[in-house]
């Protein structure tokens, strides 16, 4: 049963990932990214991580991809790459070689190496408690400090977004299409 779920999820993920890379139109890339994110959510459920699957769909597919699409629409959809030309000589080949080396190296490590970690003694995943409850308990006890730091990070992100989105010059504030003011 899990094998079937894994195969279906893996195919969804890989097709989406390849679609992100080879799509000429950024909108198609974003929609392929949704497919990959859903595939990963399916695989999360297959591994008993139900909370993360829900968060994956809500945060990634719901918020992040919509933000991507929003920006694509904001700056124009005709920014398509010219995929047939190769501005830097040999870049495609080197990128493909690098990707193959990464894939081959990681696969070799996974197949040859062995997992040296020890099973947890304090934070077991396979308890009777539901996944959400166990995860919340873990988050608000052992990882409380990291959780609080995360809130600082989010505040910084909000402030940074406001600073970046602000018009830099009063002279530019009225124009929809500002010229460069130095």
């Amino acid at each position: 049963m899990e094998t079937a779920v894994f195969i279906v999820g893996a195919i969804i993920c890989l097709v989406g990932a390849v679609g992100v890379v080879i799509s000429r139109n950024p909108v198609h890339s974003a929609l392929s990214l949704v497919s990959t994110l859903f595939g990963v959510a399916v695989l999360f459920i297959a591994q008993d991580a139900e909370f993360l699957a829900a968060v994956q769909v809500i945060v990634y597919a719901g918020a992040i991809v919509v933000l991507f699409l929003f920006v694509i629409m904001l700056i124009g959809v005709d920014q398509s790459d010219r995929l047939e030309t190769d501005p830097l000589a040999g870049q495609r080949v080197l990128a493909a070689v690098t990707a193959l080396l990464v894939a081959g190296g990681l696969t070799t490590v996974i197949l040859v190496g062995s997992i040296t970690g020890k099973p947890s003694t304090t934070a077991k995943a396979s308890t009777d408690a539901p996944n959400v409850e166990a995860l919340g308990r873990e988050l608000f006890t052992d990882y409380l400090f990291a959780f609080e730091i995360t809130s600082v990070l989010l505040v910084i992100a909000v402030v940074g977004a406001v600073v970046l989105a602000r018009h830099r010059d009063v002279a530019m504030a009225d124009d929809d299409y500002p010229v460069e003011v130095d």
């Binding site: 890989l14 909370f51 990464v102 947890s120 077991k124 995943a125 989105a165």
Partner: protein
């Protein structure tokens, strides 16, 4: 709850391939938005590996790590897209090659 018939190996290999596709896309594409999407692909590949090892080692710490990665990814996307929008506002149609102002 599904029966745990598969070990972590297939998930880790899938994560490795997703990561490699992300690397290839990041090195190949020139549109800053698509490069950003490739970074998201790589983050998801690592998340998948985290969850696979979390189940293998029966440790919820891996799932907590994925939670934090999600939060950091959300913050990163907000800032990155803000930068991209402000770049495109000044130079419409810019690709990653055009942004060489800081090149040494």
């Amino acid at each position: 709850m599904l029966l745990a018939v598969l070990g972590p190996t297939p998930y880790l290999i899938l994560g490795a391939f997703l990561f490699a596709i992300g690397v290839g896309g990041l090195l190949t594409r020139r549109n800053p938005l698509v490069m950003f999407m490739c970074v998201e692909l790589m983050l998801n590949a690592v998340n998948l590996s985290f969850v696979a090892l979390s189940r293998e080692l029966d440790d919820l710490g891996g799932q907590v790590a994925v939670f934090f990665v999600l939060v950091v990814a959300a913050a990163e996307v907000v800032i990155g897209l803000g930068i991209i929008v402000s770049i495109f506002r000044r130079r419409p149609g810019a690709t990653a090659d055009d942004l060489s102002l800081l090149k040494g």
